[in-house]
Each structure stands twice: as C-alpha cells, then as structure tokens.
C-alpha cells in the first residue's frame, strides 16, 4: 500500500510538471511560430495536454487526501481481473488496429489518396516493428 502511495505521488508530480510546461509553452509557441496557423495547432496540443494533466492531477490529489478514494483506486489498479482484461484487450486491439490500418491504406490507395495510404502503411509497419522489438525485449527479460 505504501509503495502504491509513493507511485501515485510520483505520478501527481509528473502531471503537475506537464501542466506547468504546457501552460507556459503557449506564449513561446506564439512567438516562435510568428502567430501563424502552426501556432494554433501546437496550442491545441498544449491545451489538450494541459486539460488531461490537470484532470489526472486533481483525481490523484483527491485519492491521496481521501482514504476511501485511495483504497478504491488501489483495488482498481491491482485487481487481477482488471489487469488480465487490460492485457487481453491490448493484445486484441493491437492486431485489430494493424488489420484496419492495412485495409484503410489499401482503400486510400484505391481512391488515389497517396499521402494517406503511405502514412497508414508506415504506421502499420512501425507498429509491427515495435511489436517485434518489444517481443524480443520481453523474451530476454521474462
């Protein structure tokens, strides 16, 4: 339980840093990108990061202060069934996503959307390569 509390405190700290960085990066982005459309898209990214990190930060803060919420979070995170479901879902989701990427790449090529087709093909290749590398890593580690 104490190890888990430390882990949450660490996560809270990281979330705090991310929200600070994303908040203070908005003005420099405007200056560096000379107020053009790139600045707008980058600011969208910074805002999304800010909102997500703030929400996570507040839920972690609540869990660290309130014993009941902390216990709930602990049970949710360490429950064997939940962990098993997460692993199985990740495994299936990975293969389904690769299949959809390949099918969508073919469809985009058919419709002459060259950039889309290339991006999707590269995404599928990248995911497969990362999968093989991580398989090799876990084979050594486990």
């Amino acid at each position: 339980m104490e190890v888990y509390r430390k882990k949450l405190e660490k996560q809270k700290k990281i979330c705090g840093w991310i929200s600070l960085i994303s908040f203070f990066s908005i003005i420099p982005i405007f200056i560096i990108c000379h107020f053009n459309e790139h600045a707008v898209s980058l600011i969208h990214v910074a805002l999304v990061a800010l909102v997500i990190s703030l929400i996570t930060h507040s839920s972690l803060k609540k869990a660290l202060k309130n014993d009941e919420a902390f216990k709930k979070m602990y049970v949710r995170d360490t429950d064997e069934r939940n962990i098993q479901i997460g692993k199985m879902a990740a495994n299936s989701a990975l293969f389904i996503s690769i299949g959809i990427f390949i099918a969508a790449a073919e469809a985009a090529r058919w419709m002459n959307y060259r950039a889309v087709s290339l991006t999707l093909s590269l995404a599928a290749i990248m995911v497969t390569i990362i999968y093989m590398l991580s398989m090799a890593y876990f084979r050594k580690k486990l």
Binding site: H38, S41, L42, V45, R81, Q84, I85, G86, K87, M88, A89, A90, N91, S92, A93, L94, I96, S97, I100, F101, E106, R109, W110, Y113, A115, V116, T119, L120, A123, M126, V127, I130, Y131, S134, M135, Y137, F138, R139, L142
Partner: protein, 142 residues
Amino acid sequence: MEQFRKKLRRRVLLSVIFCLSGLFIYVALIRITGAPEYTKGILFGVLSGSLTVSVFNIFRLMPLLQDEEKLKKAYIAETDERNTLIQKESARTVLSISIMTAALAAIAASFFNPVITLTLSANIILIGIVSIAVTAYYNKKL
C-alpha cells in the same frame, strides 16, 4: 489435446476454403468488373500475399496432424504460459508506444502536411476506440 487437434483441423480447412474462395473471387472480379490495370495489380498483390500465407499454413499444420510427437510440441508451444505472457506484455507496451509516437509524429507533421496530421490523429482515435470496445467486450466476457 483432442481439442487442439480439432482446432488445427479447423485451421487447415479454413485455409483451404480461403485459398479456393480467394481464387474464385479474384477471377470473378477481374472477369465481371473488367478492372483497370492498376486495380488488377492491387488485387493480384493482395491475393498472392494471402494465398502464400494460407498455403504456408497448410504445409505447416498438415505434418502436425500426422505426427503425434510434433503435435505435442506444437501444443506445448501454443499453450505455454511464458509465451502468452510475453505476447500480452508486448502488446500492452506497443499500444502505449505507438500512441505516443503517432502523437509526436502528428505534431511534427503539422508543420509540413495537414493531411498526414489528420491521418495520424485518426490513427490514434481509432486505436483508442478499438481498445475501449475490446475492453468492454472482455469486461462482459470474463
């Protein structure tokens, strides 16, 4: 073991059906629709790739069904806890890495090409939706 044998038989049968129906669909599509050269090329590529996989599967699985020793080895390899664990752990890691890489690539691409940014963002959303859907499915199933 008997279940595994049945499973392998089903896989061989499915591969054979896939080969035959693939060939039939290819010929029918070419004859009926009078597809242009480019489409013919794509169809041929998809067909030859899937046929190669199916034929490889048939040649790999047939000896297992005839030799008891090989069947036992394949059964152990397929049901080995360590292999399953490695696969699941890898899938989980790969999903997180792919989402992060795609997000970074989308930000980088926003400077050059909005189409690529949109495609990569759609990739991330798709992975998220598939993960949520599969998790909900396993939550009900397990």
